[in-house]
Assembly symmetry: C2
Homo-oligomer: 192 residues x 2
């Protein structure tokens, strides 16, 4: 049982790229074992391929993911809020990025568009917090990678803490989503 992977530098390089892509947290030592070569070889390979060391990779992943999570999950409004008259109307913009599209089609997943529209609807409600009651919406056409979706929201009626909101999302003036929301605001902010 000798080293099987000899002089297959090309192949190893390719495999190395994939391996690190798949698991960016491998040390050179682990990689050396996996590929049946010495640590030196791995280092040389990485150097040739311009793949940074484990710590750099970890740092990159951490920073990127940290920012993404901060802005994606801790954000109350999804998309960039460009205009807002609470209780009246608002507008938000969202660029469709790599991580929002389905692998196969290059089309934005429905829940991202929904999230933008839904969070705009919530932002329009004049209360400390709001929950979505019911939604009736239509996706009119798929949205592709790289397109910017502008969502327009309008409060069309209010009765106490119950709000009726219309949302329309467009790409280049073309409608991609329209929907009617019914939301409930609570802990009305008018008690300070």
């Amino acid at each position: 049982m000798k080293k099987l992977t000899r002089h297959h530098k090309q192949e190893r390089h390719q495999a190395l790229i994939e391996e690190i892509e798949k698991n960016p947290f491998s040390t050179d030592e682990e990689l050396a074992q996996r590929f049946n070569v010495s640590v030196s070889t791995i280092r040389l390979d990485r150097s040739n391929l311009g793949i940074p060391e484990l710590r750099e990779r970890t740092r990159a992943v951490a920073h990127e993911a940290y920012d993404t999570l901060k802005s994606l999950e801790e954000q109350e409004v999804i998309g960039l809020l460009t205009e807002l008259k609470v209780g009246q109307m608002g507008r938000s913009a969202m660029l469709i990025e790599e991580n929002m599209v389905l692998d196969k089609a290059r089309v934005a997943r429905g829940h991202h568009l929904f999230a933008q529209a839904n969070s705009l609807a919530i932002a329009l409600v004049d209360a400390e917090a709001a929950v979505t009651g019911s939604v009736d919406l239509k996706f009119l056409r798929p949205v592709h990678l790289g397109e910017t979706v502008i969502a327009y929201g309008k409060v069309i009626k209010r009765k106490g803490n119950k709000y009726w909101v219309d949302i329309k999302a467009q790409v280049n003036q073309e409608d991609v989503l329209i929907g009617h929301w019914i939301l409930f605001g609570f802990k009305a902010e008018i008690n300070l």
Copy 2:
């Protein structure tokens, strides 16, 4: 201008915790400067407070965020798919976690519930890829942190590549969301 922050150990500790919470990527040296004390002091503080070193913190953030992103954004199905008969019916479960709830209310944001239901609907479509056409749904009651949502999906009609799917989501047998989806399946075009 002498060191102002002396013997305010307690206060510094508190501030240190907050600082690291806010920016987990600070080195001891940076922290020492910020707090106007020596690196030794920072190390001692961290040790007392049980705060691990920069690399550990970075590693933790990277791993956690990596997993989260992998499972949240690269996952085609949101929630855990527990049963699936493509073209017929399916079921998925999702635990409501900290990052899914609104800050103020401890209630899951609508788009997470939508995402679970929507991805289940898509999974049911017997095609390489599917896009959501229209949706009519109701959120029947808010879902709270820690609750597990089980979504049930059923294909009720199919005509060519057009699918009618009903989704119902429950927490402890209690309906929290019901909706009707209309989706279109298609063959992913492989364009190089």
